[in-house]
């Protein structure tokens, strides 16, 4: 794991040297410079992939939680972290799944590095830390998937919904439990990981 994090740091250095300061590109091609206005109470990042079946099947739950909290000063971003994604695949995917425009192409893995997300789907909840945002939770969105090929008929725990409620209620935020299940984030900036790695 330490090796992987070292790689992320090195690649970020590569990206920075190219002059890239944004979190990534938005659906309209503009760089995303701010995750949320200063008044926002939290930011939720959903790490997704246009070609990952588990990620796709979890999108309705992500959208449900977004809809629940959208009017309560919580910003949501659908983050596409894989190298293979392009603006075109991202916008096509957003339209096909009815996701809207709150998406960012994170080719430089800035958001992956910030949150230590490992797979799609995975979520991070961030709160203000001075001028920046810091993650207070990175992990599963719900408990529907136990491992690849083993899933509950429906989720019994809705972690992101609970965490955002805790943040808004200024209660202690629960720790992420269990192993995120899905497709490894494939980006040279993010180390290849398997579920076995994630358990360690």
């Amino acid at each position: 794991m330490q090796w992987g994090r070292a790689v992320v740091a090195v690649v970020l250095a590569c990206a920075a040297s190219a002059g890239e300061q944004a979190f990534g590109l938005q659906a309209d091609g503009r760089p995303l410079l701010e995750l949320a206005p200063a008044s926002a109470k939290a930011v939720v990042l959903y790490f997704v992939a246009s070609d990952c079946p588990v990620s796709n099947r979890t999108l309705p739950e992500m959208l449900r939680v977004q809809h629940e909290f959208a009017a309560r000063d919580v910003a949501f971003w659908f983050v596409y972290p894989n190298t293979g994604e392009t603006l075109q695949t991202m916008t096509h995917h957003l339209a096909a799944f009815g996701v809207g425009k709150d998406a960012v192409l994170d080719k430089a893995s800035r958001l992956v590095a910030l949150t230590h997300a490992r797979v799609t789907p995975e979520a991070a909840v961030l709160v203000r830390d001075g001028a920046a945002w810091k993650p207070v939770y990175t992990g599963r969105i719900d408990d529907r998937y136990v491992r690849l090929g083993v899933e509950r008929p429906q989720a019994t725990e809705h972690f992101i919904e609970q965490v955002v409620s805790e943040v808004l209620g200024q209660r202690p935020v629960q720790k992420a439990v269990g192993t995120p299940v899905g497709c490894a984030i494939m980006n040279p900036s993010a180390p290849v990981q398997t579920s076995e790695d994630a358990k360690q």
Binding site: C14, L148, V150, R152, S189, Q193
Partner: protein, 662 residues
């Protein structure tokens, strides 16, 4: 670290280039070009190709590398390739279980960074994007598309696909195109010979009927020909073994039972079934047998190892061709085996960790012979605790047998082929059916399906009195069941009590005038015993409601002919002929009626149509000769009689007629 930085920043470029100079360490690596591509092509590509049912393509190195972490996960857990049977407990065709060496190779490959390696670029197998066997002879499509919601639990739907055939055909192969393979987890085709699902759901059968399992009415005839018609994402065309096509009759429905999985976005499903016909009728007649113990499925909430068992003694020798174990989400360990009369055991299947998402029919690699007296066993266990992540109920509740996915089932289907029945012996499938039904009644003495089938078996064997007794017993349980009332009437008629049968059938018609079997059977008795008014009334009503009922058109023609209403009889015979264009019988009857009416030219024309359909029928050639002679064409008549005698030298009528010609 500088070297590492360089590698990472240019990683995308390096991935496109073949390695040229390899170090000793690199030469020892498991690589895509070396070991992995052949493993992936053999085990994964049938689904994981562009246009395939897998959610992504694994044809190229770049694609495989993208999914390499998941390949490691799913092969280590044996989630992929989907294959449930434990090794050493039955030998199956199309075994998809990967070897330990293959799994170890994938592990080593991923652990070393999924290298491409050197050597020739592997060439992936190609797959047809359309029908595997070429254009089908008949394509059936769901009457309407179904909208699958973006989210929610899995859906189990049954769609009725009417066959639209005009004549019976033998089906040698079938392929299902699910429309959206990403949504369709598996599909089962059930042959509904009596359109029973349509009748049970007249308002919504075109939209689809929910239910994981369905029960269709197989009708009153003993017609046990049955095949597994199961499709799953890695299935290609389902080709039946030589000599074992299945029969599709006019009026039959195919029921497409589909397991649909929401994908995260709304999807539209409109499946097609492609059928490939053969002119060669079945020469082998398999049947499906079922071990089950649904009655024992009373699984308490929290039970972790609830067991049900069943056993069936085979009265005749069979070959087992395939097995289909079936339980729902609580199924845990499923086992089937046979104890032979010599005390030896033959395992049929063992699934140590059941998963309905990966259920399948398993065809044996070669037929398994089981002698008469073999006892086939099943033993299933169920986990109804909260620890079973598949449990549909949270918290768990008591679960019983039922067709809904949240209910349970305990079924082990076997496709068997009776061994070597001689032509003069009774159909051995009668004995198998009887053993099966007796087994059901042993577990559930009031099992109405088993009782009904037992009565039908008695009827098929000519034991009308015994059948009558069973139907009467059933009527005590279901006094207003028009089907049982009708079958009782038919059994009474077969036993010689036509007056009692007539009375019984009149009660059936009075109970449900729309039940066509009752009306037809009553009209048949009426026609035979000269109650033509009632017969005519019943049949006019029946044919108005069901103009494609050839048997009713035929019977009404007979009634009219007996009344001397030959023009009306002709009209009905023509209707019958249009329903059965390949059947010589309507032409034969038309020829006879035309002859009675003195229309010899028409009679000859119809009789020639008979000959065209049945050219080796000596008696028909002789009849044609008679009609030709009556119309003055002596030369043709002579040739017809000579042809009849050539086909059947013992046909005295033809000899006698020939002798009468000048």
């Amino acid at each position: 670290m500088k070297v590492l930085v360089l590698l990472l920043c240019s990683g995308a470029l390096l991935a496109q280039q073949p390695a040229t100079k390899l170090s000793a360490h690199e030469r020892e690596l498991v690589t895509w070009r070396g070991e992995i591509a052949p493993i992936v092509y053999k085990n994964c590509l049938s689904c994981h190709h562009t246009g395939g049912s897998g959610p992504f393509d694994l044809s190229t190195y770049a694609q495989a590398k993208r999914w390499s972490p998941q390949m490691l996960d799913v092969t280590q857990s044996r989630y992929m390739p989907p294959w449930l049977p434990a090794p050493g407990h039955g030998e199956f065709a199309g075994n998809r279980r990967m070897s330990e060496a293959e799994i170890a190779a994938i592990k080593a490959w991923v652990a070393s960074g999924a290298p491409e390696g050197a050597g020739k670029v592997p060439v992936a197998p190609t797959f047809k994007s359309s029908w595997e066997l070429g254009p089908p002879d008949l394509v059936l499509e769901m009457p309407a598309a179904m909208q699958v919601p973006a989210s929610g639990t899995d859906l189990y739907m049954n769609f009725v696909l009417p066959s639209s055939l005009q004549t019976s055909r033998w089906v040698r192969a079938m392929e299902i195109q699910p429309g959206s393979a990403q949504v369709t987890h598996h599909a089962n085709v059930i042959l509904d010979r009596t359109q029973s699902l349509r009748r049970q759901h007249p308002a919504d059968w075109q939209r689809g009927v929910p239910g994981m399992d369905i029960l269709v009415d197989s009708g009153d005839d003993f017609d046990p020909d049955s095949h597994f018609l199961f499709w799953k994402p890695d299935s290609t065309a389902l080709v039946e073994p030589q000599g074992m096509p299945w029969r599709l009759n006019p009026g039959d429905d195919l029921i497409l039972n589909m397991h649909l999985k929401p994908t995260g976005k709304p999807e539209t499903v409109r499946a097609k079934i492609g059928l490939y016909f053969t002119d060669k009728p079945a020469s082998e007649h398999p049947m499906l047998l079922q071990l089950e113990n649904d009655a024992a499925l009373n699984i308490p909430a929290g039970a972790t190892d609830f067991v049900v068992e069943d056993e069936l003694k085979l009265p005749v020798a069979v070959q087992v061709l395939g097995v289909y174990p079936h339980a729902h989400y609580l199924g845990k360990r499923l086992e089937g085996w046979a104890m032979l009369p010599d005390g030896s055991r033959q395992d049929l299947i063992l699934i140590e960790s059941w998963d309905i998402d990966r259920q399948s029919v398993y065809r044996l690699a070669k037929p398994l012979p089981l002698p008469a007296g073999t006892v086939v066993h099943m033993r299933y266990s169920y986990d109804n605790s909260a620890a079973n992540v598949h449990n549909p109920h949270s918290p768990p509740v008591a679960v019983h047998a039922g067709n809904r996915s949240e209910d349970e089932m305990a079924h082990l289907w076997l496709q068997v082929l009776p061994v070597g029945p001689k032509a003069d012996e009774p159909d051995p499938r009668l004995a198998l059916e009887q053993a099966w039904m007796e087994n059901r009644l042993r577990k559930s003495p009031d099992d109405d399906i088993a009782l009904y089938n037992m009565a039908a078996l008695e009827t098929a064997q000519g034991h009308s009195t015994q059948a009558e007794a069973i139907y009467r017993r059933l009527l005590v349980q279901r006094p207003k069941d028009v089907r049982t009332m009708t079958s009782l009437g038919a059994a009474m008629a077969a036993a010689g009590d036509w007056q009692g049968a007539q009375q019984q059938l009149r009660e059936a018609v009075a109970t449900d005038a729309s039940y066509t079997d009752a009306a037809f059977d009553l009209a048949s008795i009426d026609a035979e015993h000269e109650d033509t008014a009632e017969a005519e009334s019943l049949l006019v009503t029946l044919t108005a409601a069901h103009p494609q009922d050839g048997a009713a058109q035929r019977l009404l023609a007979i009634v009219y002919a007996n009344e001397g209403l030959l023009a009306k009889a002709l009209a009905r015979l023509k209707a019958w002929q249009s329903i059965e264009p390949m059947d010589p019988d309507p032409h034969r009857a038309l020829a006879q009626v035309y002859a009675q009416m003195g229309q010899q030219v028409d009679a000859v024309q119809e009789q020639k149509a008979v000959i065209a359909l049945a050219p080796k029928s000596a008696s028909d050639w002789s009849d044609l000769g008679v009609m030709e002679a009556q119309s003055g064409n002596k030369l043709s008549a002579r040739k017809d009689f000579e042809r009849a005698i050539e086909l059947d030298p013992s046909l005295d009528a033809a000899r006698s007629n020939l002798a009468k010609l000048p």
